[in-house]
Symmetry: C2
Subunit: 346 residues, 2 copies
Amino acid sequence: LHEVLDATAAWYRQGVPFALVHVVRVFGSAPRLPGVAMAVAASGEVVGSVSGGCIEGAVYEECLQVLENQQSVSRTYGVTDDDAFAVGLTCGGDIDVFIEPVDHERHPRFLDVVTAVQDGEPVAVATVVRGDSIGAHAIVTAAAATGESALVDVARSMLRRGTTGLAGGDDVFVETFTAPARLIVFGATDFARALVSAAKLLGYHVTVCDARPVFATRTRFPDADEVVVDQPYRYMEGTKVDSRTVLCVLTHDPKFDVPLLQVALRSPVGYVGALGSRRTHDDRLARLREAGLSDDEIARLRSPIGLDLGASTPEETAISILAEVIAAGRDASGQPLANTSGPIHS
Amino acid sequence: LHEVLDATAAWYRQGVPFALVHVVRVFGSAPRLPGVAMAVAASGEVVGSVSGGCIEGAVYEECLQVLENQQSVSRTYGVTDDDAFAVGLTCGGDIDVFIEPVDHERHPRFLDVVTAVQDGEPVAVATVVRGDSIGAHAIVTAAAATGESALVDVARSMLRRGTTGLAGGDDVFVETFTAPARLIVFGATDFARALVSAAKLLGYHVTVCDARPVFATRTRFPDADEVVVDQPYRYMEGTKVDSRTVLCVLTHDPKFDVPLLQVALRSPVGYVGALGSRRTHDDRLARLREAGLSDDEIARLRSPIGLDLGASTPEETAISILAEVIAAGRDASGQPLANTSGPIHS
């Protein structure tokens, strides 16, 4: 992804026109998600790929055509089951792409997008992929928006949800670039180790924080993105969090977790859970009340952390915690899907 | 573990007496589970470790004493918080060990245990760690049992649950050796890939099976223990499963999953789940009834697979499936622990 944006930003700065390929939709169980996938410069240079397979040839030819005609196009590439492996699609199916010619005139704010992505600023780009205004753009960040107002609205709503895909009756493709959500584990324990590994599978940017330098080491947490030695409450006061941030308090020690929770429960994070027995939990609630937290603030705390799975090992506990994190974000029941009747996906 | 058993089996065969160290209990959040941890031969040679830290020195001296006195001992090593890191315990606490002298006379069936472990046969060893019969053993496998009958009963009940720990009022330490439980994923899809990685974190022996050779490849599933190209129903007919085995049917295709489920739902496995939309699910049930499965057999099927977490990505779906697998084995509710009042651990 960044590979394509980095290369195209350089072309853009040098005044080299290029064709930008977005995968807008995939049918079947495909090996890639929608988004910017590939680009072809007027010089013929290519960066990225659509499928890792023989679709690339056809897409490449189409890109040259787009550059020649200076006309955006939407194309569908069908893949039969027999060909599926050859093109890198796991189950066959179709892949929809949108190809647009990009230069300073057609996409004057292209570098705003690249800069936001490179700075880790959330940004959404809405592109009209069908109809009269094909090729029109809207760009939305937390601070600014450019483009036609209906298009800006669509981009803004997708940005809020952090999703990429077709919208507006499939006429608009919105691509959202957000930094991975953070998961911060307080307490450099063995339970933390299992949680870090499982959280990485879910794509979180994972930080482990503990006041004790001998425990909070990179050697003990090779999978973590960051290992921080600091008082948990002090780290929490200074670090950047948002509504997608997940806090897991595994310290097991009121000396650390009460001051930390005082900060955490008044922060904008999406999830705060704390490990502990039911006795620890009761004691913790009493201390938080004593410390002056309101009932509403205390009600945000998920304690004891996790879904009731009967988990006992650190690894099972990690699954129980992440299952609660996922369900909490979608207001899902935690019941077996076999016993429920609602939608399976959020 | 095997490192210690392998070394001690060699000593035993050569007639070299040795002291065998079992960690029987750990207080605090410790870095190791109970079990055979270390051994010291009469020659002074050491294999294994108890804590990876400075407890080792004291345990080593105790082992030499045990060999000299030919007398088993139980010892507790206390670790203050300040020393905790030095001895490799993450939160301080105590560690209980049992050290016994082993030779042909005192432990005539020691090699039966090693052979069972090496062959992947489940086996439990009960050892009296306190009181008059200190040092007495019982050994239980699926096929045979030796030892005093009350001791055999304790070992058998721990073997059935696959657990290791103190029993019989803390006078008996039972160590259970079982091969990792199997998790078999049918359908070599992207959902399977995420499930394989997460299941490995939980310690499963993971097999991926798919009839299509281009999908069921080691390259696509580097984390799997086995990747098998075969018709799912035929593989299921021939492979060895038991009550701990987990089957996840992700094929999404009635051509494969109905014949497979006919075999699976009549097998002794502990869990059978199948992925699919609610429409796929209804269609699947109809086909299974048509194929002659009884209501009881069909009731074993968890479909749609997983807990209701609102999961959408392959990784989230993997967590939802494993959360159901864990909860199913413990009859747990799947509710947030914050809303329940029962025990947290199974």
